[in-house]
Amino acid sequence: TPNMKLILIFGALFGASLCLETFVGHQVLRIKTRNEEEVKQLQLLESLEHLELDFWTSPSTCALPVDVRIPVNNVQAVKAFLESHGIEYSILIEDLQVLLDQEKQDMADSQQRERASSTFNYGTYHSLDAIYAELDHLVYEYSDIVSKFEIGRSYENRPLYVLKFSTGGRNRRAIWIDAGIHSREWVTQASAVWIAKEIASSYGQDPSIISLLNKMDIFLLTVTNPDGYVFTHTTNRMWRKTRSRNQGSLCIGVDPNRNWDAGFGGPGASNNPCSESYHGPRANSEVEVQSVVNFIENHGNIQAFITLHSYSQLLMYPYGYKCTQPADYVELDALGRAAASSIQSLYGTTFTVGSICNTIYAADGTTIDWAYDNGVKYSFTFELRDSGRYGFLLPSTQIIPTATETWPALLDIMVHVLEHPY
């Protein structure tokens, strides 16, 4: 079967990468023993070290076929031995090196194709520069509804780019979505770029998006913490915080999701600069946070605030800094459940719905608590895939499924906001 071949190839590749051998003319035979006597013959063969046989499964009393790689010089001798003892075999791989060379060529070709074409691969993780280039490309391709502007610069002076999706009007009611506030949560930045493409490309066809953008604008910050994101590429894949210097400490960075002015500095955050949930010296100390705060406050008409995180598969509403229900608890909970149900209907991915405090832990100074306390009723935090199997290192093959299943949930929320102005 193809899968079996792949396992064998990788096994050989694996072996090759360790031993730097070539496998020209090596054959892989599959031997089916029918009785104990034949097994004994195989075990005898195995013991002949000068043949340099590489048994991928060992001849034993398990009634399993035995796969063995035979160096080119010994292929004929081994076949003669098997035939003279009436032992059945088939040729699994005629020439291992040919297969390995083909594999190498295929990989090189695929890389070449990706470099040559100008299409952005949404199913893989990209550098910050590549993401920013794609944002420009989206603005160029869908210039009638997409524009890009800067809301500020990061600690290390990288631009914070927001995409605006709009069909016009002045200061319309708007939705805010941000991703990548914690830099190691790579599926969020990747999903955000996919979502940008989805909104832009389906504007002409999807009735929900058409009616949405007729009345409302969408603002999307795809990389909220670009310094951290670059750091996860260059140095430490597990970096979470910003990259700001902390006075009096060798430890770097503040948790940007503990830095907002809502229950700031409480027990649901750390006052230790070396902690992953360090809240910072004061609320909005981080320029990345202050930039978003400034934008939201100056806009004045943001009606929904959605932050994307990973991982844990949760859909949460306020509060994190206290365990009492928000005033709009009933509506937020119902909307959250409807959105989670939309996620589940695609691939069966289950999300748990609830307030931050009841669903994950007490957390002070978070984005949605601040937004909610500042008048943005529809404030939600998503924790996307998965639930711990790969965690932050979600395989890139899951990017598009994750974005695809999250999108209807976002749409549910946005349509609800559209239909319930306040």
């Binding site: 893989t124 832990y361 290192l393």
Partner: protein
């Protein structure tokens, strides 16, 4: 009703222990869902949770089995790992073929296996290294069990480095440096472990 995160933490812990006891290079039982639960029941011994949850194999979505567990977090002595009693309804899928294939491949290597960053930054695991990762995952289950409290939820984030140690006896031995992620504190903690394994004798963490 109990906060959902308390049940989830207990279920993650129980699944970790099950992975240590029943997992290996050919089998990776993982928590799929928490069906039901109650707790904490509080008494002098500590906090006890009763759970019903579903496990499946990492590489086989059709392999779901129901499990029940009782998890007791000791309050008095912080150094005592939680007590976990579990029952698996039915059978986990057999891993004999995969175990034997892995065992023979490793035994026949001329040089000791060395590898890094599993999965890599993009979440990829080369197929040849899948059993190495599953073995680490089973061993991490032990570390997670030994170090869990009601205020932690530990997952294996990544294998930073693995180095085989050749042995003259029948066991396979690997030195791993693993990263554990605690969802509650958000800390990523490096941990060095030595793992022994044999198809018949299962996983042992000796350090």
């Amino acid at each position: 009703p109990p906060s959902s995160f308390r049940l989830r933490r207990a279920a993650v812990l129980a699944a970790g222990l099950i992975r240590y006891r029943r997992g290996g290079p050919g089998r990776g039982p993982v928590l799929r869902d928490v069906r039901r639960g109650r707790g904490p029941d509080i008494d002098d011994a500590g906090h006890k949770y009763h759970l019903e949850f579903v496990l499946e194999d990492l590489n086989d979505k059709d392999s779901a089995v129901n499990c029940t567990a009782e998890v007791l977090y000791h309050l008095g002595n912080r150094n005592t790992p939680p007590d976990v009693q579990f029952t698996i309804e039915g059978e986990l899928k057999s891993s004999d073929e995969a175990d034997h294939r892995f065992y023979n491949q490793i035994k026949s290597l001329k040089e000791e296996l060395v590898a890094e960053n599993i999965p890599d930054s993009h979440g990829n695991v080369p197929p040849a290294l899948v059993p190495i990762r599953l073995l680490a995952w089973a061993a991490a289950g032990y570390v997670i069990w030994q170090n869990s409290t009601e205020d932690t939820e530990l997952h294996l984030a990544q294998i930073k480095r693995v180095k085989q140690v050749k042995r003259s006896d029948e066991y396979l031995e690997f030195d791993y440096v693993i990263l554990l992620h605690d969802v509650v504190s958000q800390d990523v903690i490096p941990w060095r472990i030595t793992v022994l394994w044999h198809p018949q004798h299962g996983v042992q963490v000796t350090r």
